[in-house]
């Protein structure tokens, strides 16, 4: 393991501390648990949006606390769900009496703990509702879509939820927009090299120098196929073949697309992938709006990338374009 760190056990807390020290006007570490990151200046008089999940994916989840994005976020250990307590702290802190939307990736621990936190909040007379994000087409077939993992689509869903809340919509309307965003995203990743969980100290998986794994999850979960490295254009064609069919796009439909780096892949290569993906969309007569290229949902030092396509209607397009202020968000 080669990492710039101190004791592995302090890894997460030192990152959170660094975030609040570097951006004191945006981030504040809070809660009895010290695992709740919130906006330094809370918003009032509107629905709140929170999220939470395992750490090691910056900017998602905690990195997207900010105006027009998340109000607060529960932080777990690297690749491990937070327990219910920081989630409840995030919900109760963020609530201003108008209800809370919880954006949750489709992982057993995250869902179970958020469900408990929502029930506890309910006992304190706070209405908190979960929207589950399960955009990874490689993790289960379409007829078992409820088993799919949440990956980079979380970025879009957080952005839409935050924008809908900032606009002053009521809880039902924010939940509806957030759910629509979750339903409109499809993603797939490709991994070239492993990540290392600090407390594990060794690579999560083995992969040969000349191999790539298509469909690998953001914690190293097995993908759909392991192949020899192929040229970027051919790879993108295959990835888009997985992502696009379920969106049932027609000529003239609008989409946004996120070409996301998993941590160790340079921006240069992301733009090579983007170029190829853009050309495929153009060839199908699909209108690409507000593309995103960069590191938005990572897996520590995993090498590779993911492509997320979100089908847009006018409302989603407007919410995606709405202002958001945050050290990581680049719209």
């Amino acid at each position: 393991m080669k990492k710039l760190m101190n004791e592995a056990v302090n890894y997460v807390d030192e990152v959170l501390d660094g975030l609040q020290l570097a951006h004191p006007d945006v981030f504040k570490v809070d809660g009895e648990t010290g695992r709740m990151l919130r906006k330094t200046t809370p918003s009032t008089g509107r629905v709140a949006v929170v999220s939470g999940g395992g750490f090691g994916h910056l900017p998602i989840f905690a990195g997207y606390v900010g105006d027009g994005l998340l109000d607060a976020c529960a932080v777990g250990d690297v690749f491990a769900s937070p327990d219910m307590n920081p989630m409840l702290e995030a919900i109760t802190h963020a609530d201003d009496g108008n209800g809370v939307v919880c954006v949750v990736g489709n992982y057993g621990g995250d869902k179970m703990n958020f469900a408990m936190a929502c029930e506890m909040a309910e006992m304190e007379d706070i209405t908190a509702q979960q929207v589950i994000v399960s955009d990874d087409v490689a993790s289960a077939s379409a007829d078992k879509a409820e088993k799919r993992r949440g990956v980079a689509g979380l970025v879009y869903v957080v952005k839409i939820a935050g924008a809908a809340a900032a606009e002053g919509r009521d809880l039902a309307a924010v939940v509806a927009a957030t759910q629509k965003a979750a339903d409109s995203c499809r993603s797939i990743g490709v991994a070239l090299g492993s990540c290392v969980v600090p407390q594990a100290g060794k690579p999560t998986f083995e992969i040969a120098d000349d191999e790539m794994e298509i469909g690998m999850g953001i914690h190293g979960e097995p993908g759909v196929s392991r192949t020899k490295l192929m040229p970027a254009d051919a790879l993108v064609a295959e990835l888009m073949d997985h992502v696009l069919p379920e969106l049932e796009l027609k000529t003239g439909d609008k989409v946004s697309m996120l070409v996301n780096g998993l941590g160790a892949t340079p921006n240069e290569e992301l733009y090579i992938l983007f170029r190829a993906a853009q050309s495929i969309l153009k060839g199908k007569g699909i209108d690409l709006v507000q593309p995103l290229v960069g590191n938005y949902a990572t897996s520590m030092e995993m090498a590779g990338a993911s492509i997320t396509v979100m089908k847009l209607d006018d409302d989603l397009q407007k919410l995606l374009a709405a202002p958001a202020t945050n050290p990581f968000w680049k719209g």
């Binding site: 250990d77 327990d83 219910m84 307590n85 179970m112 703990n113 469900a115 408990m116 506890m120 006992m123």
Partner: protein, 199 residues
């Protein structure tokens, strides 16, 4: 007369007093089948709950909720989460009540079982704590005195443990070991029995 927050305080303290010995045994059992952290979860969870036992509110529902928060502060084993889920299920049913008639205990256990099945994905017969609790639920039906409830529960938890000993684990990490788990006690089921015996 019925179940109150005082009983909950007493139970937490009684189990916490024995939890270190319990923890060693459970870690050992869990190391063979799971990730070996069941004992640690029990020790940390009961230490956390004991720390707040004196401050538990008299509202039994709220007391269960505070206990759930303390229990789940130890991340790691799903056992902690499942205990939190059961306490929450009971909390929802009893919010605002100081005294719960003993005759309702059976139904409350049933609510906890349902919540754990919904959230955890296990079914009855999978050789988990659900099978212990289902046996206890049945044994407590129509009992309305604390002494008979406790003795029937200990007996039911022990019977369940023995009757599942020769069946395979069908869920969780232990499932991977399949038929090798025949003849082995499920660590979670042992935990239930040991907790009740401590009372």
């Amino acid at each position: 007369m019925g179940l109150t927050s005082n009983h909950l305080r007493h139970a937490i303290r009684a189990i916490q007093k024995d939890v270190d010995a319990m923890g060693d045994l459970l870690n050992e059992l869990d190391a063979k089948l799971g990730d070996g952290d069941l004992g640690v979860t029990m020790v940390n969870g009961f230490n956390n709950m004991a720390a707040i036992a004196d401050d538990l509110p008299d509202d039994f529902g709220r007391a269960c909720m505070e206990a759930a928060k303390a229990m789940t502060k130890v991340s790691g084993s799903s056992f902690g989460t499942l205990m939190g889920i059961s306490l929450m299920a009971v909390a929802k049913q009893t919010k605002g009540e100081d005294t719960i008639p003993w005759s309702r205990l059976s139904d409350l256990i049933g609510t906890a079982i349902d919540a754990m099945m919904e959230r955890g994905g296990a079914s009855l017969g999978d050789k988990t704590i659900l099978d212990s609790l289902e046996a206890i639920r049945r044994a407590c039906t129509e009992l309305d005195r604390p002494d008979t409830v406790l003795s029937a529960s200990v007996e039911a938890a022990t019977d369940a443990l023995y009757s599942f000993r020769d069946k395979p684990n069908r869920i969780g990490r232990a499932r991977i070991f399949g038929d090798k788990t025949i003849g082995m006690d499920d660590p979670g089921m042992v935990a239930i029995q040991k907790m009740l015996q401590a009372l």
